[in-house]
């Protein structure tokens, strides 16, 4: 970004630095807000269909264009031409605002996503905290959509959505905290710079917590209770059609990409890779390619999970968050904090090993604790049955 601003000032002398900065950032925001959603939605819906088809032993879309790559555009045109239905007693203003807010909430995350060396919308010190905070807007949008539709299934879906989002926000924040402690900063660029070894290798437990919780946060299978067809028709967006539904759809895929991008930045070293760097144009492009490859790999894992696992029950869903992921995150946080303060922490190689050992200790403690608890409850239940007889 800075290099581009410099180049603009050099090439067009009447431009002042402030004006050049303004132009560059406005253009970048426009790309994020208008170009990126189209590309992301078209590319990843196609990928999702193909991957799921492959898992389910089908062919997937193959009519529109070679290998069906134009399927996304066909869907978009269909969405645009659909009738726009508003329920009779809906709260019109809120009903129309909700899909917009849902999309905005997803796009806002992109502002702090370092997609390539030196290319980042804003790099505040509170970078990762901002990501957590912006997630809250999605909850508001879900509640608005569910309530204004004047449909009990939509409202139930919204309640479920918010309960799930709140429950899984806690493990996400805990795993982010572990990364922040290891990196020593909340700034996105500093977190990327701290990963000489990607945190996925030194903090694997935190990575898993983040991955599981972010799948739940996006509401994808096996955590897709918010749109469980057999239970509540389609969740909070049941009454939406045409372009308004498309907005929710865009928001969902933007959220998917944003979450995977955050996971890449936090745990896979972001844009880092061989020969990538902010100094030259090929280095920057290479960094962008690394970022997209890593993000797509994470999205692919999410699709794989979606194609493999079945939906879990709502009480299991909440239990899993509060009774497994949150305690695991807390244990991990304490142990990693101790490991970071060990005297060996000075030399970086030993520091990473200490972190890795801390992770395994945390996972081990949690597994022992959970199995002991399960044994205890099971024997208590058995005693109760025996006593009743």
């Amino acid at each position: 970004m800075e290099a581009l601003i410099h180049w603009l000032v050099m090439t067009f002398p009447p431009l002042s630095e402030g004006l050049a900065r303004f132009i560059v950032y406005v253009l970048y925001s426009a790309v994020l807000a208008f170009v990126a959603p189209v590309i992301i939605v078209v590319a990843y819906t196609y990928m999702e269909r193909k991957v799921l088809a492959r898992i389910q032993d089908r062919i997937g879309p193959n009519r529109a264009g070679p290998l069906g790559i134009l399927q996304g555009f066909a869907d978009a045109i269909k969405m645009l031409t659909k009738e726009d239905v508003t329920p009779a007693c809906a709260d019109r203003v809120v009903f129309n605002l909700a899909p917009i807010l849902a999309t905005i909430a997803a796009i806002l995350v992109f502002a702090v996503l370092p997609v390539a060396p030196g290319v980042i919308g804003a790099d505040p010190q509170t970078g990762i905290l901002y990501v957590v905070a912006v997630g809250a807007l999605g909850e508001v949008a879900a509640l608005m959509a569910g309530w204004s539709s004047n449909n009990k299934f939509a409202l139930l879906g919204a309640f479920r959505a918010v309960a799930q989002l709140i429950a899984y926000e806690v493990p996400i924040v805990l795993s982010i905290l572990v990364v922040v402690m290891a990196a020593g900063s909340m700034q996105m660029s500093a977190i990327v710079a701290a990963q000489d070894i990607p945190f996925a290798l030194t903090l694997p437990v935190a990575f898993l917590i983040f991955l599981v919780a972010s799948i739940a946060e996006i509401g994808r299978s096996p955590f897709d209770l918010l749109e469980a067809e057999s239970e509540i028709v389609a969740g909070f967006h049941v009454e939406y059609s045409g372009m308004k539904f498309a907005f929710f759809f865009i928001g969902e895929y933007m959220h998917l990409f944003a979450s995977a991008g955050i996971a890449t930045t936090l745990f896979l070293g972001g844009w880092r890779g061989p020969f990538a760097g902010p100094d030259s144009l090929p280095g920057v492009l290479l960094g962008f390619i690394y970022f997209v490859i890593k993000t797509t790999a994470i999205i692919w894992v999410m699709m794989w999970v979606r194609g493999t696992l079945f939906r879990i029950r709502i009480d299991h869903l909440l239990d899993f968050a509060w009774k497994f992921l949150v305690p695991l995150g807390l244990i991990l946080m304490v142990i990693v904090a101790v490991a970071l303060k060990l005297p060996v922490a000075g030399s970086s190689g030993l520091r990473w090993i200490a972190l890795l050992i801390a992770n395994f200790v945390a996972a081990l403690l949690m597994v022992i604790g959970v199995s002991a608890l399960a044994r205890h409850t099971r024997s208590a239940a058995l005693r109760e049955v025996a006593g009743a007889e």
Partner: protein, 183 residues
């Protein structure tokens, strides 16, 4: 510099409209749900002021706590009330004049306070200084302010436990005794 200044003024105007308009809608809206949503708009405007003042941490915390937590709580709780079902809410009760009096007195006190305070003005170099607030804030919370910080967390814990105790269903004692003896 000029373009920065212009965008700042522009943003300030929009944020002011957001905050004041939202606040006005909170008290004038006859629909409880709309009032809550307007409150979110107003709080978002206040968050924008923090961004303009270069207080990024405060802005993010405002978003996280006021919009992410408190507003969701308000939305949830008004959905559980019956008031939501009644389309046109009565907006005042017999205590309105007491409220008006308190509001007026608060307003007077605030105007006097604003008028009489001498506002220290930071120089240019303070604006140019790198923003290192978060590190300092963190160090302050575990250093000189460790005890107040812990007291606040204990207070929150007490509130949490108290809320659970209040919300728990009152058990029938004889019935629970039966369960314990394994009947």
């Amino acid at each position: 510099m000029t373009i920065e200044y212009a965008t700042q003024i522009f943003a300030f105007i929009i944020l002011t409209l957001m905050t004041l308009g939202g606040g006005l809608a909170v008290v004038t809206s006859r629909n409880l749900f709309h009032a809550a949503l307007s409150l979110i708009l107003s709080l978002a405007g206040a968050m924008g002021y923090y961004v303009l003042l270069d207080a990024g941490f405060l802005a993010v915390v405002q978003l996280l706590i006021y919009i992410g937590a408190i507003s969701i709580l308000i939305l949830f709780s008004i959905m559980l009330t019956r008031g939501l079902m009644v389309p046109g809410q009565v907006q005042r009760n017999e205590q309105w004049w007491i409220a008006a009096l308190v509001v007026f007195l608060t307003f007077v006190v605030m105007v006097v306070a604003l008028w009489q305070t001498v506002w220290p003005i930071a120089g240019e170099e303070a604006l140019r200084a790198p923003n290192v607030a978060i590190g300092q804030l963190g160090a302050a919370l575990v250093g000189p302010y460790a005890i107040p910080f812990e007291v606040i967390s204990v207070l929150l814990l007490v509130a949490l436990v108290g809320a659970i105790v209040l919300a728990r269903e009152v058990e029938n004692h004889s019935a629970s005794a039966d369960v314990e003896t394994g009947e």
